[in-house]
């Protein structure tokens, strides 16, 4: 059962990839969809057994690397946390697979596409079910590779290729930290298996080691290094620039990347390492601050973008920020809860946006949309549901998970917790604003659609809408269904020993006792945001331009995404190529060859 839940997507990918000629596109679609369905069903059964009936288990497959004291195996660890993740990954992937069949129907390489998507799912499944750091890294790099292949799927496009390389290389920068973290774990604990490490954390918590000539507390050092990996994968401020470029990929891939298989890996990893992070107070404080800032910065950028997919992409980054500051205040359950609900409504939003783009013959610029609600009403309703859930309107999924995050950070009674709360409130306002800005610009107001595009606007087929209905059901129900389990009264039973919180740090518990206004403020501020968007984009449509004009510098600052790309290009990319060129032309050809080879320049072997 466990093996089927994880390996059937791999099998599907291999069959579809290797025999694409024989199977044809239809066959490839059938195989991958059948396999992912099988995986989804298995994972639901496992979820019931493990999370609800509490029988976690680990299945060892065979030895992977065995060298001296280092001994790791390929293994499937199905505890409560892994079970939740497997369900999220498989369900979202299931919806996206079915959606893609129709969405990609005119693409010649769709067998390859389906194969990649299944492989992507497999890599993520290996990541979440790992029981050691090396297999975690396997999945970690695996999703990085698959995102590279899928972002660059339309490989004739220069921009897609560049975005793909950017995603991979930035992720590698994160992985660099991650690898060092893993090495530090081995150095300190002498093993890379989770259980053996976690048992010994308490006894090592005051150990000090040298790293690059400085003294560090081991737990802090390990957690900080591992977190660099999470920053890359989960697009936290500093290593986030790949995420918005990644919208170059086909839309179903965006849904997969943003909801299930890639950016959530960082959140999962920190939650998985909760036994370590609990003893790394300074690192958690840093995570809280960085998460809050990511939530804020991403939201400011989202307000100024016109590409429908980029808006949603920045909203993901912002929501990941929320998850991280939840992790930072030890509210691991809340972070995973938000990951869980977010997966549904973010996949819904992306697939909905895909449906819009499909109807618009590939147009992604919201300035060229407007008034679409009458033409594609079903998609319109789906986008409403997605945004209601994202903003956290009461009784939709995001309401439960985002509020518990904000309440926990307030209840953490630390300076960084307070900071995160207020920054989170500000970001919540902007979230509501840009979400309804998206809805208004796309569906309401006067149509700005060009004539020949308008003629072809058609509601998507049921094949594409059915996955949306499925996800919408999740976006409506996941919150109130999951609340008691993830963060409510049954949470200790639900998580078992897979999440670890020191008694003093249990901010989810304290969140029950926060003042009433703390609980109400996010909802109130969300409504304010919607209202503002209404004024801006329905009531007086000239207002946005006036404000943009009046705040010239700030506006272009936001529009250019805080100039991160330009800055990195100037201080990293260009110098590296420059140094490389100099080392080659001067270092190798002039100096080294000059010295070594000048003596050998006898006749006949002179350089031509």
């Amino acid at each position: 059962m466990e093996v089927i839940a994880v390996f059937s997507p791999l099998l599907g990918a291999l069959i579809a990839g290797l025999f694409s000629k024989q199977l044809g596109a239809k066959g490839a679609n059938f195989v991958t969809c059948a396999m992912i369905t099988l995986a989804a069903v298995c994972s639901l059964i496992l979820f019931k057994e493990i999370s609800l009936e509490k029988v976690p288990r680990t299945i060892e497959l065979f030895t992977w690397i065995s060298s001296g004291a280092l001994n790791v195996s390929w293994a499937l660890r199905f505890d409560q946390l892994a079970a939740v993740m497997v369900v999220v990954v498989n369900l979202i992937s299931y919806a996206v697979h079915y959606y893609s069949v129709d969405y990609m129907r005119n693409d010649d390489a769709r067998a390859r596409f389906m194969s990649y998507m299944s492989l992507f799912t497999f890599a993520m499944l290996m990541l979440v079910t790992s029981d050691n750091f090396v297999q975690l890294f396997f999945g970690w790099e695996g999703v990085g590779l698959m995102s590279y292949l899928l972002i660059g799927f339309w490989n004739k496009k220069e921009s897609a290729n560049n975005a793909a390389i950017k995603a991979f290389v930035i992720n590698r920068i994160g992985d660099f930290g991650m690898v060092l973290g893993i090495m530090a774990v081995f150095f300190v604990f002498g093993t890379l298996n989770y259980d053996d490490v976690f048992i010994n954390v308490a006894s090592k918590k005051d150990t000090v080691v040298l790293f690059l000539g400085h003294q560090f507390n081991v737990i802090n050092l390990i957690c900080a290094l591992l977190f660099v990996g999470a920053m890359g994968k989960s697009a936290q401020l500093g290593l986030h620039t790949w995420l918005s470029d990644a919208t170059e990929c086909p839309t179903p891939v965006s849904a997969l990347i943003h909801a299930a298989t890639m950016v959530t890996a960082g959140v999962f990893m920190v939650a998985r390492m909760s036994p370590l992070y609990e003893y790394a107070e300074p690192v958690r404080e840093f995570i809280t601050v960085l998460g809050a800032m990511t939530a804020f910065v991403a939201a400011t950028i989202a307000m100024t973008q016109f590409d429908i997919k980029r808006v949603i992409a920045y909203s993901t980054m912002s929501q990941l920020g929320y998850m991280f500051f939840a992790l930072g205040v030890s509210a691991y359950g809340a972070a995973v809860f938000h990951l869980f609900t977010h997966a549904f409504f973010k996949a819904l939003l992306f697939l909905g946006a895909g449906s819009v783009i499909h109807a618009m013959s590939g147009e992604q610029d919201m300035r060229k949309m407007g008034g679409l609600y009458r033409l594609i009403p079903r998609t319109y309703i789906m986008m409403w549901i997605g945004n209601l859930a994202l903003v956290g309107v009461p009784f939709f999924a995001g309401y439960y998970s985002k509020d518990i995050i904000l309440e926990s950070s307030y209840a953490a009674h630390s300076f960084v917790g307070q900071f995160a709360y207020w920054v989170g409130i500000a970001a919540a306002f902007m979230t509501a604003f840009y979400s309804w800005r998206l809805l208004f610009l796309t569906f309401h107001g006067k149509s700005r659609v060009s004539h020949h595009v308008l003629e072809n606007v058609r509601e998507s087929s049921l094949d594409m809408l059915a996955p949306l209905y499925f996800l919408a059901a999740g976006a409506v129900c996941a919150g109130w269904w999951g609340y008691d389990f993830f963060v409510g009264e049954y949470r200790f039973d639900f998580w078992g020993s897979s999440l670890f919180v020191l008694a003093d740090n249990d901010s989810i518990l304290h969140a029950r006792y926060v003042p009433e206004w703390v609980k109400l403020l996010p909802t109130f501020i969300g409504c304010m945001g919607i209202l503002t968007a209404y004024i801006f984009y329905i009531k007086s449509t000239s207002l946005p331009e006036k404000i943009a004009g009046a705040s010239g510098v700030i506006y272009s600052f936001l529009c250019h995404k805080w100039y991160f790309d330009e800055l990195y290009n100037k201080i990293v990319v260009v110098p590296i190529f420059f140094i490389g060129k100099k080392l080659w032309k001067i270092g190798d050809e002039k100096i080294i060859d000059g010295i070594h080879f000048s003596g050998a320049r006898v006749k006949g072997i002179r350089k031509k």
């Binding site: 695996g142 660099f176 690898v179 490389g580 190798d588 072997i605």
Partner: protein, 503 residues
């Protein structure tokens, strides 16, 4: 139990094949066809023999096995002595695997002097295997030098435009190292009175002399690996060499340096090795970062891969001189993995070179459209080369880093940056060659890989995944021999476990 002298058979069968070719008579076409068949059959038989030998190899022993010994030059204290242990047997297997692949790869691309070409390759195989099996210093030296000649001719006769320059550069660099090594060998004989390598691996030479000896050997091995700053012969040699020449050069010849460090420097000169570790670490770290940066800006496919080789071999020297179980096993593994991956990459280059006859990256682009199978194959080896988990490249790199982290976090930190740069230059290369719009007419006319080329790549792909997913088949047999080297080193330097002893 294998009772016949299997090692000698493996070593000298190729030489026999070469002599046989010499006797082939007839018109030119039939000679060409016949020598090709002889070469392929001989090398395949040799490969089969070496696999057979591996099945009889005792994987739990650290000793030399299949040892053969005859008196040879008693006046020099030298004898004909051959044997393999867990370290050298893998290099023998790598050599016997890559040679038939090289013959296949040259099947159509070599048009002139086919007989001489094939003879050179078979001679080369004898020399390579002999070098890895030699347990006597005189023999070792003869084979070590013997490799040089056929390679020199392969580059110099069948190479590209600047082949003579490249061949001489290659020859002079390696010759310089060899001369010093010869002196060192003579000095060792003078000191100890024996040429027997297993004996010397347990002997203790005075530390003062050790340092000089170590430096002399080091120069020779460093040129072969190559280490910074004696690496510049490699890009030139690769660019000019025919595809199969590059394969052997990168696949086997570079490993002779690493093998030398493992077989000679560490066990025979342990005190000096310890003394010079900082030197090796510095040069290797420079190699990793410097050559990665240089690789990033290359405009020639083969040069780029050649520079990436230097960076990858930097990992090897770092791993060896970390003198930890993980580091040294990682270095060995990295050598094997690199031997397969880089060979495959050069074969990939050969595929497009055969069709378009240029190595300039800018002349390509969009190959994924008309050569999808090729794009997949190239992708797999590119990923293995950047050390993606699940491929062979990861295991070696990871173990090396784990090993060296225990000795020095700084070196681990700097070396790990190579992981980022490696991804950057390989992906950038791949994008320029394979992705993009298919605009150039001559590129559009290229055809996808044929059955012969598929036959070349399939075993290599299988190996890459086998080594990546179940590396124990390779690590376990080499473990005892490596442990022996480490024990010997630690005993000589009286080191208990160096946990956290260094910053």
């Amino acid at each position: 139990m294998i009772t016949f002298p299997v090692l000698s058979l493996i070593i000298f069968l190729p030489l026999l094949g070469a002599l046989l070719m010499f006797c082939v008579r007839g018109d030119e076409k039939s000679v060409t066809d016949n020598v090709k068949s002889i070469a392929l059959v001989t090398t395949l038989v040799v490969f089969a023999l070496s696999v057979y030998m591996f099945t009889g190899f005792d994987k739990s022993s650290a000793d030399f096995q299949f040892v053969e010994k005859f008196d040879w030059l008693p006046a020099l204290g030298s004898s004909y002595k051959m044997g393999v242990d867990g370290i050298s047997i893998f290099f023998v297997l790598l050599s016997t695997l890559l040679t038939p692949i090289c013959i296949l790869a040259s099947w159509e691309s070599i048009k002139k002097r086919v007989r001489e070409y094939m003879m050179a390759f078979l001679l080369l195989e004898t020399m390579m295997i002999g070098m890895f099996c030699a347990l006597d210093f005189v023999l070792f030296y003869v084979f070590f030098e013997g490799v040089l000649l056929p390679m020199f001719f392969i580059i110099g006769v069948w190479g590209g435009e600047r082949r003579v320059y490249a061949a001489f550069k290659f020859f002079l660099y390696t010759l310089l190292g060899s001369v010093l090594m010869l002196l060192a060998i003579l000095l060792i004989y003078h000191q100890s009175g024996t040429m027997d390598i297993p004996t010397l691996m347990q002997a203790s030479l005075p530390p003062g002399i050790q340092k000089w000896l170590w430096l002399a050997f080091m120069v020779s091995f460093a040129v072969k690996i190559p280490m910074w700053p004696v690496h510049t012969w490699l890009p030139d040699a690769h660019v000019e060499a025919p595809t199969a020449g590059s394969v052997i050069l990168a696949g086997i010849l570079l490993k002779m340096g690493g093998y030398g460090f493992l077989r000679i420097s560490l066990p025979m000169l342990p005190e000096a090795s310890e003394y010079f570790i900082p030197l090796i670490f510095s040069l290797s770290v420079i190699a990793v970062i410097y050559t990665s940066l240089v690789a990033l800006v290359q405009e020639d496919i083969k040069k780029l891969i050649a520079y990436s080789s230097v960076a990858n071999m930097g990992f090897v020297t770092i791993g060896i001189f970390s003198v930890t179980t993980q580091g040294m096993q990682g270095a060995m593994f990295q050598m094997l993995s690199h031997g397969i991956v880089v060979s495959a990459l050069f074969l990939c280059v050969g595929v497009v070179y055969d069709r378009l006859h240029t190595l300039e990256i800018a002349r390509y682009g969009g190959l994924v459209n008309n050569m999808p199978r090729y794009a997949t194959v190239f992708m797999i080896f590119m990923l293995a080369s950047i050390g993606l988990p699940g491929t062979s490249g990861f295991v070696g790199e990871f173990l090396v880093l784990i090993g060296v982290y225990q000795v020095s976090t700084l070196v681990a930190f700097l070396t790990a940056t190579g992981v980022i740069l490696g991804a950057a230059y390989m992906l950038y290369l791949y994008k320029r060659v394979v992705f993009g719009e298919l605009t150039k007419a001559d590129v559009r006319a290229m055809t996808d890989i044929n059955a012969r080329e598929v036959a070349i790549f399939v075993p290599l792909i299988a190996l890459v995944f086998w080594m990546g997913i179940y590396p124990s088949s390779f690590i376990n047999p080499m473990a005892p021999a490596i442990e022996k080297v480490i024990t010997r080193y630690n005993d000589a330097n009286a080191i208990s476990i160096p946990q956290g002893a260094y910053p």
